[in-house]
């Protein structure tokens, strides 16, 4: 090979990877990138943040009119508007984080191909931006919820406990999707369809009680972590009388299923992303 005295040279550099060996840098970079891009969206157009808020609100407006005036799906549900809006905002967070992550790595080609940095920064920044958005949207939700007569409760402070698993689920998918998209460009349309399915498979328009059989209710709560989280959100944020997640699942034990799904997606996502990370710059 050469006449270099390899023993004195220390450790060879590893090349690009997901974590990059320096977690502080990963964090700094993710936060900085997220803030910059958030700023861009915020100040990018004249109405700036209003648009970010309008999207879920408009969707809410349409769905509210349809499902209270025409279909009457919301009839008899306590605080239906609050339930609907909370569901939409939480789901918007999820779809924002995942849909935007799909093309995230490919979109930042000029960074990925020119600078060495922990590749995980890219999906992580997307997730952070979605969180920023969610926090602002939740302020709007708060105003609305109070306006519709929901009593403030101590349980509201448990909200982070709901947002954490939702974020982990979205983060796992973000890693998986952004890494896959580099190789398979049809991940994008596929994921759009999956998001549609998930939207209707989650108790957003409806509440779980509407489902005809106990088995069906269990299936939804077991195999759709978003549903699990939404059920719990309705219980602890809006309507105490609504069933909580473990009742809906038919027992605390069964919550292990959505828990395992979230964890599994997280591990799978990281594994795939970590495996692809060294070659992303070449494959793009």
């Amino acid at each position: 090979m050469s006449n270099l005295d390899v023993a004195t040279l220390g450790r060879p550099i590893k090349g690009p990877s997901a974590l990059g060996g320096d977690l502080r840098r990963l964090l700094h970079l993710s936060v900085t990138l997220a803030i910059m891009e958030f700023k861009l969206r915020f100040f990018g157009s004249v109405l700036g943040y209003l648009w970010q808020l309008m999207r879920p609100l408009l969707l809410f407006g349409v769905l509210y009119v349809v499902f209270t005036e025409f279909v009457r799906l919301g009839a008899g549900i306590r605080f239906y508007p609050a339930v609907l809006l909370t569901g939409i905002v939480l789901f918007t967070f999820f779809s924002d984080a995942t849909a935007r992550s799909v093309t995230a790595v490919a979109d930042r080609e000029n960074l990925v191909r020119k600078i060495e940095f922990p590749r995980l920064v890219v999906p992580l920044a997307v997730l952070l931006i979605a969180y920023f958005n969610l926090l602002l949207n939740l302020l709007a939700v708060l105003v609305f919820v109070l306006a519709t007569g929901v009593e403030p409760r101590l349980e509201w402070f448990a909200l982070p406990l709901l947002l954490l698993p939702l974020g982990l689920f979205a983060g796992g998918l973000a890693m998986l999707l952004s890494a896959l998209y580099v190789r398979f460009r049809d991940v994008q349309p596929i994921w759009e369809v999956v998001l549609q399915v998930l939207f209707y498979a989650s108790p957003i328009l409806y509440v779980l009680d509407i489902l005809p059989t106990e088995e069906l209710r269990h299936l939804v709560v077991w195999f759709n972590p978003i549903a699990t989280i939404l059920v719990q959100a309705r219980h602890s944020l809006i309507d105490e009388t609504a069933p909580n997640a473990w009742d809906a699942a038919g027992g605390m034990v069964y919550l292990a299923i959505p828990g395992a799904i979230v964890l599994g997606v997280l591990v799978l996502g990281f594994w795939v992303f970590n495996r692809e990370a060294p070659r992303i710059a070449e494959e793009l």
């Binding site: 090979m1 050469s2 270099l4 550099i13 090349g15 690009p16 990018g44 020119k114 398979f184």
Partner: protein, 414 residues
């Protein structure tokens, strides 16, 4: 630098190879995969780097040169940690700052201020450090008045200035720079090289990929020449630059680019061949400036003729005549030739023409009046040289600069 790292090369590359897979038919959708599950994707392998090894000492200004596609940018990207080497190992001792291509990772929609901070963090600063150094960056780039402007409204030269400033202010121990400075204006280029010299004196290590041989010769301590992914030459910048020029002209000199111009003459003679030779009498399409060379032309006579002459004119690419000579300047009595006889004409001289392509237009004449055959731009040769002075020829000469004599000044004043 820590004490323990004294004496260790800043960058050591040990047997690094890198190849890229280039799919013959790109299967980039799942649908195609599902429809043709047994069709294996076929790949062409392109060896960008093959068993490259060298070490760069701390404080060295090291040039990496090579033709397009020789693997120098791939090597730099491996050093920067953007690509992972297939085999071999790269040892880097110290913080690396990279400057690869225009406006590294700048976001066109963000203002300069935000881009500088983002870029700083990208290159390894903490957010606080990036904020603190912002003023120095913008001052160095001389872009204070444009700091709130979005990057998309910057000219490419301004972007390069900004990117370069960030890279310099990051305070890295090792700088990797990929031929980008050509974009900036002359004043900024000079400023860059001033900075390089300062950094070099401070003991920073600089690896510099470029096509600009004069920059290599001016600034680099050593250089490496890559060709087809292998190190062809490593050593003194002058030698490496010379080999580079040789290599690039050798590849680009197959046949003259210029279209042949129709010949003239009354057809009583025909110029059959014209060519160039180097000092060893070998036919060449490239000759080196400052070395002996010769031009040759062979003609056949179609009718008997007494004392014919063959002459030639040398021109450069811009049709500027450089020199003309004729055989009857040496001897007007060249003898008698019968129909079918051939004559060879040759001009030996030291190549003093400026680097570039030189065309020869030979002709055969009789008594200085009758043109028997004339072949404008019949052949050409590339003059290889590392230095472009702007003149038509570069004559060997001495040049000197001395301090003026005080006594003389005194006398002049008296």
């Amino acid at each position: 630098m820590t004490e323990s790292s004294e004496g260790i090369p800043a960058v050591a590359i040990d047997g690094v190879s890198k190849s890229f897979r280039i799919p013959q038919e790109r299967v980039s959708t799942l649908k195609e995969r599902v429809l043709h599950p047994f069709k294996r994707a076929r790949y062409d392998h392109f060896d960008a780097l093959h068993d490259v090894s060298f070490a760069v000492e701390r404080g060295e200004f090291f040039g990496i040169v090579g033709r397009n596609g020789s693997g120098k940018s791939t090597l730099l990207k491996c050093l920067a940690g953007i690509y992972r080497a297939d085999t071999g190992a790269i040892y880097v001792n110290g913080r690396v700052s990279t400057f690869i291509e225009l406006g590294v990772g700048f976001n066109p929609d963000l203002a300069a201020r935000d881009n500088v901070r983002l870029n700083g963090v990208m290159l390894g600063l903490s957010p606080r450090e990036a904020r603190d150094r912002y003023d120095r960056v913008i001052e160095f780039a001389e872009l204070r008045e444009f700091e709130e402007l979005k990057l998309k409204n910057y000219s490419s030269g301004m972007q390069v200035r900004l990117a370069f400033s960030v890279m310099v202010q990051v305070d890295a121990d090792i700088l990797l720079i990929d031929e980008v400075l050509a974009v900036g204006d002359v004043a900024f280029q000079q400023k860059c090289f001033d900075v390089f010299n300062r950094l070099r004196d401070e003991g920073k290590t600089i690896l510099f990929v470029t096509h600009d041989m004069s920059a290599v010769k001016r600034f680099c301590h050593r250089a490496a020449l890559l060709d087809r992914g292998e190190v062809v030459r490593i050593g003194e910048p002058d030698d490496v630059a010379a080999t580079y020029v040789e290599l690039s002209f050798a590849a680009g000199s197959e046949g003259p680019v210029e279209d042949r111009v129709e010949g003239g003459g009354d057809g009583t003679a025909a110029l059959l061949d014209a060519w160039w030779e180097d000092e060893h009498g070998e036919r060449q399409s490239v000759v080196h400036q400052g070395r002996p060379c010769s031009f040759h032309a062979r003609a056949r006579f179609n009718e008997a003729v007494e004392h014919p002459a063959i002459a030639t004119l040398f021109e450069n690419e811009r049709h500027q005549p450089l020199m003309a000579t004729s055989s009857d300047w040496a001897d007007t009595r060249s003898g008698t030739f019968q129909a079918g006889d051939e004559a060879e004409f040759s001009v030996h001289f030291e190549m003093v023409f400026a680097p570039g392509r030189v065309y020869a237009s030979p002709w055969v004449a009789h008594q200085g009046r009758r043109v028997m055959d004339k072949r404008p731009r019949m052949t050409s040769v590339v003059v290889a040289g590392t230095h472009v002075s702007g003149g038509l020829v570069d004559l060997p000469h001495d040049v000197k600069l001395q301090a003026g004599s005080r006594i003389l000044q005194g006398e002049a004043g008296a």
